[in-house]
Assembly symmetry: C2
Homo-oligomer: 101 residues x 2
């Protein structure tokens, strides 16, 4: 199925691809950090250990509505994921790579 | 074409959809903030005006390798875009909504 999709994709115009991206983006699950952690079957304690901070700090982090990108990246990496920063415009999407490291 | 893709998508399994997402993600253009600004045909001066800061502050912001998510969101919104925070795992992607506002 993945191959068939790749073949279809190769025949798509850039505009159609942009549409497809937006359709997929809209279907991504949205959740806050603590739900993501639970979905990965991780406890605050195990994440705290991976981040070398205490559990209270993890709890506090999960309640924040703003933080440094590097802090968020560390948290997501500790769960085994990778952070991606996307800017979505009416005509398409761009991945911001200032913060890649 | 967008409709046809939507029909195809409706017949895809969650696994195929995850594959498709990753294929598309890999094809997203990657660029740093200053290139994105130029691609949107905006000057540092016009962005500075939109953000109510001076041009030197925009220049400084574009050279940073870390910043608050809210700062990045403001910058992207000033260009007419929306920031999305995605966590990518081997089994799929999740949009983080702690910072939506």
């Amino acid at each position: 199925m993945a191959k068939k999709f790749a073949e279809l994709k190769a025949r798509m115009t850039p505009e159609s691809l942009a549409d497809a991206e937006q359709i997929l983006q809209q279907h991504l699950k949205e959740m806050p950090l603590h739900e993501l952690r639970k979905a990965q079957q991780l406890s605050q304690a195990s994440l705290a250990k991976a981040l070398n901070i205490n559990q209270a700090a993890v709890s506090k982090m999960e309640r924040r509505t703003d933080m440094y990108i590097s802090t968020l990246r560390d948290y997501i990496r500790a769960m085994g994921g990778e952070l991606e920063i996307i800017a979505t415009f009416p005509d398409g999407q761009v991945k911001i790579d200032n913060f890649a490291c």
